[in-house]
Symmetry: C5
Subunit: 359 residues, 5 copies
Amino acid sequence: MAAKRRKPRRKAGLPPGSLVYLGAPQVDKVEMSLVHYTKSKYRRKKLTSLTDAFSQISDDSVTWINVHGLHNTEILMEIGRLFKIDPLVLEDILNVGHRPKVEVMANFIHVIMKAVLGEKDGELIRSQLSLIVGKNYVISFEEFPKELFTPIYDRLKNPEGRLRENGADYLAYAIMDVVVDNYFPILTGLSEEIEDLDEIVLNNPEPEQLQRIFTLKKQLINIRKNIAPVREVIVKLLRSESPLLNSSNAKYFNDLQDHVIQLVENAEVYREMAVSLQEIYLTSLSNKMNEVMKVLSIIATIFIPLSFLAGIFGMNFDTSASPYNMPELSSPYGYIIFWMICLLICGGLIIFFRRKKWF
Amino acid sequence: MAAKRRKPRRKAGLPPGSLVYLGAPQVDKVEMSLVHYTKSKYRRKKLTSLTDAFSQISDDSVTWINVHGLHNTEILMEIGRLFKIDPLVLEDILNVGHRPKVEVMANFIHVIMKAVLGEKDGELIRSQLSLIVGKNYVISFEEFPKELFTPIYDRLKNPEGRLRENGADYLAYAIMDVVVDNYFPILTGLSEEIEDLDEIVLNNPEPEQLQRIFTLKKQLINIRKNIAPVREVIVKLLRSESPLLNSSNAKYFNDLQDHVIQLVENAEVYREMAVSLQEIYLTSLSNKMNEVMKVLSIIATIFIPLSFLAGIFGMNFDTSASPYNMPELSSPYGYIIFWMICLLICGGLIIFFRRKKWF
Amino acid sequence: MAAKRRKPRRKAGLPPGSLVYLGAPQVDKVEMSLVHYTKSKYRRKKLTSLTDAFSQISDDSVTWINVHGLHNTEILMEIGRLFKIDPLVLEDILNVGHRPKVEVMANFIHVIMKAVLGEKDGELIRSQLSLIVGKNYVISFEEFPKELFTPIYDRLKNPEGRLRENGADYLAYAIMDVVVDNYFPILTGLSEEIEDLDEIVLNNPEPEQLQRIFTLKKQLINIRKNIAPVREVIVKLLRSESPLLNSSNAKYFNDLQDHVIQLVENAEVYREMAVSLQEIYLTSLSNKMNEVMKVLSIIATIFIPLSFLAGIFGMNFDTSASPYNMPELSSPYGYIIFWMICLLICGGLIIFFRRKKWF
Amino acid sequence: MAAKRRKPRRKAGLPPGSLVYLGAPQVDKVEMSLVHYTKSKYRRKKLTSLTDAFSQISDDSVTWINVHGLHNTEILMEIGRLFKIDPLVLEDILNVGHRPKVEVMANFIHVIMKAVLGEKDGELIRSQLSLIVGKNYVISFEEFPKELFTPIYDRLKNPEGRLRENGADYLAYAIMDVVVDNYFPILTGLSEEIEDLDEIVLNNPEPEQLQRIFTLKKQLINIRKNIAPVREVIVKLLRSESPLLNSSNAKYFNDLQDHVIQLVENAEVYREMAVSLQEIYLTSLSNKMNEVMKVLSIIATIFIPLSFLAGIFGMNFDTSASPYNMPELSSPYGYIIFWMICLLICGGLIIFFRRKKWF
Amino acid sequence: MAAKRRKPRRKAGLPPGSLVYLGAPQVDKVEMSLVHYTKSKYRRKKLTSLTDAFSQISDDSVTWINVHGLHNTEILMEIGRLFKIDPLVLEDILNVGHRPKVEVMANFIHVIMKAVLGEKDGELIRSQLSLIVGKNYVISFEEFPKELFTPIYDRLKNPEGRLRENGADYLAYAIMDVVVDNYFPILTGLSEEIEDLDEIVLNNPEPEQLQRIFTLKKQLINIRKNIAPVREVIVKLLRSESPLLNSSNAKYFNDLQDHVIQLVENAEVYREMAVSLQEIYLTSLSNKMNEVMKVLSIIATIFIPLSFLAGIFGMNFDTSASPYNMPELSSPYGYIIFWMICLLICGGLIIFFRRKKWF
């Protein structure tokens, strides 16, 4: 149970800028891959030596180093040394509880985003993605090495594609676009669940549904928390006027911005629906209870007076002691009259209940 | 069930700018119509060749190409080629889950809006409308080819009308005005339903009403979501100072802005009322339950002690075994006294209930 | 029922600027009155010819034309023609569902406000008031010709009053001031009702109160909706720096602004109290139900076991068949012991209920 | 009841600027006091002639006229005449329903604030305080002449104090500081009540507590409403750059600002707690009801079947008519078996209830 | 009880700037420690003479005076005299109810923050921390002298650390960083409690949990209240462009800002979850009640009619008086038929309950 949790913990007491990985290792071994391409060439391979990769960076090609997994701090320190990256930035890369942000430095841009990979045991599987975008290179750090980037690899293979024609900033955009787009199916899945629950909750409220609604709300809050800051990230990127970003690519970031706004708005709308659902649940329960109470009340209200009547004629007053003692019992029509009174009471109450619209 | 749903799905993995229609085809065949007018002439016909239409565009006339249906991507690509429209814009036109927005380009203005055509099975029928407004032409893309534009066609026939005297920007305004105005009857219908439900819910809460309130709320949220961004759209249009917009037409857009604000405010007020209605429902249910409980309690509280009394005198203690064993039974007035005690208990409880204001 | 409703309907399909009155006629016949005054003279009469009134406008006097009722569009068109008023403005005057707004034109200022005249059948009686403020004249359009302007007529009679010393802009201010001030008694009335309901709801919740609270909330929302935009109206007026407004009168508009802010804040506070009241109602109902349940439970819990006991001794086991069969019945103290057990159970339960603080 | 209420009423129909006192007289007779001081001298006396006071104002001393009570409009008019104060300002001083505001004039600054003096019958006792701050004088108008200013008088007696060293603007600050500081004990009192109610409500919800919570919420809303606008007042004061305010005293107003923000934040936090308390109350009530229902259900569920059993053996079927008619009754162990069945049912149900965690 | 409370009390009536400690003394004796370091040297000792410490301040070293405890106002006054600190600042240091703020003076910067040290009896232990940051010195005032600063002392011992290389502003940053970081474990603890409560509340709602949820909400509100203003503090610091702050250290404050935003967002998310939890509690209780009611209703609905039936055959009508009087009793199959009717009723009701999905 405790092992499953991923909370933003800070290493209280350590100096700022210390490199300590704060999450649980999500992969067995930290691996790296290298993608190197120009308009005419494309190569992708497993990376073993960072120095090799560093030496390949040139003005007329794009180099993309993708680090899978974060718990090998030595790799990080070497990257920091080679690419002259501030220790505070490296610390942020390791802090998987960090919120999305961007920092525009002189020689590179640092972006932190959260990818959502799916759902497990009612918790979203979040993977922190950090990007170091330099002049001719991109370094990406993935917490969980899932197949998030497969579509980018596929598109890179196409020599006519926009990716091959553009520089490192467009690659960074493509990576961010894939991360943002990955939220859509997750959100759609949640919204479909909400709509499915809608009818069930109204007709047959069960505690498990309540649990599910609570989980849905929590996930929607989490999605909003992870995606909403990306708006500021893009705004800051566009305003930075960094020479690392080609101004002709601004339209792509604007488009990405639109998608993020749409995600945030949808998450908010779905959350309002989940809240509605919870209220529906409670009201539905009251409906049920009302019905249960009505059945009980109808039965009890009809039979309690009848039982009293039957009780009376079951009394053992000595009829011989006095003519006032239960003369009904020896009347020849007593029993028939008893039943007629019963029917009268019954009928009267049924009319009363009908008027009150109880059934 | 699943086929009915229209969710904003993104084609994860495809490069940005790919032309793929994401909605379900809402018409059998994509058709186009051409409207061509000057102050003195007006012609409207079914369009078959886009190249023909393109060649007719001239400085002293207005050309309006209306595309009904979106699932023919070839038409879109030809339009893109003829009118030099960026693939990102074409992609947005096809993405029916897009939120309202405007993009002011050098050679044209691109507007996306959502028309609301009615309600079906508790869901609003939304139709995405995209406009490409150029110097002398307007291209409109309708997801659902309903009779939304009929009033515009009618007004165009009138040679004295403002439409015939103004350029393409005024035509774009007229189209946007029709879309916005179409929200008013929908909203009025919803508000009337809310007011009708108001009284019913208070007197006779039924689960179907709850379902209806939930649907109303969802629709009002959706209306707000679809119309609210149009405010920014108009603000952005007015601030763009695009040469494609005649500044003397700004007052019309300001007027449109007023209508949008009014729609948003009304939608918000109605939503607050729907929320109130839901609370009324719950409280009404509690009222009902309270009443049911009171009836049950009154009956039970009166008859349970009486039944006990009747039970006592039904006991078979051997009166002959001892004079202490139920001497009441052989008393000549036992039965009469029993009834008097019953009446006393009954009367006392009725006074008690009256004091407690139970009935 | 349907006739009573006043909803903002838009004439979908008509060209913008068409003059169609959208409300129900609130007066039998549209009438006009003319007020003409200088520092030294004051005249008020029923107006029949607009051309006459128009010819009287002069630089050293103020002319006030007040139109009572809106359903005579011919009058409006003549005014439009005489005073050169844009059709869009005339359209807004007729659209009684319009929100408060101001438009500063070159030759006049157009203000729309909502007067609240009282309450009828739980709905606020709103009357739309439009002002056309020119250099030396004011034209006012009242939807309902109530005595709203009587205090202004009275003040105009006083030759020493500020009204007589100032121009048309001060008259416009005075009219707006009367409209705003008219909200105060309405709001005070609503707040007094809320305070009266407060105590009643707590002690004796009844469904009619709930209905009333719902109505109060709706009215407060409506008041806020009608008065809040007046803030922007005044801000826009003050910022317009129109030559039609004498800058020395700005302090009066600032003062008016203060009153509007106070109204909005009060409406908001009262609405919060109405929401509180609704919650109080629900909680009060739960209190009542709790009490009902306690009474039922106490009675049932005491008498159900006792009834069982009485039932036992009413059983007909054959005591002669075996000495184990109900020897109590023939015991000489059986009946007395039965009563003692009854008293013990009764007493024990009473102590139990006391401990649980049930009474 | 009606007399107790103080509502912001506007004198509808009167011209703006008419001097009419709108509140109930809070003191028998309007009195005035005069404080006159320089660095070296300090004098305080009852004031009878305003002209005298006016003549004493000089460049090297500070004159403070404090008016206790507002219902003497003649005094106000004389002040207006002597100090050249606009009738609109005088009107605002009399309107005790006015919200806090500041007006920076050429020759004086006008500040309206609300002092809170305590609580009476669940309503806050508010006293409107108006300040006219001129070059060498301060005129203060108090609605209720309580001992609010005693600490200022005490501090003025000290010739070494800052008050004696600074001018009229510092005196105004000191007065405003006393008014703001007076909110703290009131707020602390309310917050202590909320914390005391916290535990009581959870264990033993009673309708009186609900009433009290409602009152607390109302008071907190009122406090926020009265103190929050003081923020804008101070901001406006600081931005006015009026020559009447010594810029070296800005730090004191900044400090005051901090206190106001703290008050507003605390009021908001306490209000959230009061809302929580109300929810706790409702939930607590449900807890109670649940317990009541459980007791009833346990008793009823155990004894209703047992009573049925006892009822069966009380039936009078003729055992002699057939051997199938109630052979149990004549069985020698019938009664013992009856009790064993009773114990079995009872035990079984107790186990069932335990499993359901009902007790 | 009363002694435990720490409320922001203001010394009403005292002149602003009076030095009075308003909290309860949190330590026995106010102690001071002195830290003095350069790049090459580091010394830490208990401080007895402030004059000594003051004389050691030099341009090429950093002096840090830490005051533990606040109730010795003489120390404060001496510091004020030595370091030329405004009495208003000293007053703020003593006012432990103050909200976080920053004041940038000519010769020093004054920062107030709130450290959270843990939780005791459901209340957060808050310690006010004030910093006076001068050119070569930092004076810190701690309300509670806990081991908050131990990690800073440890890091100062390392001659290679950043702390030793930077000036007083970096030391101030390090102190603020430790205070902010201390919130993370507290917040994580609260969030873990919320998640633990989540499941328990759903399955087995108990009043103690409600109490706990209420406490959690209160603590989260308090955390937000204490940490949120730190955002403005840092923004103000960065904008002040004070020469006391080295601009190359801005990135550290930006980083701190990020942590504060993350804290505020997390606190908000956890509070939303606590609110959800409270709703879950209430709904869970309704679920329980519904179940209780169903059991009661099933038992009562089945046995009440059966008891009535048994009651009938227990009546003593005289069968000999007439053949119509209870002929069933003497029928040979009467008893068997009775049981068959009982089984029929029982079975019918069970089918009815199944259909209603009651079990």
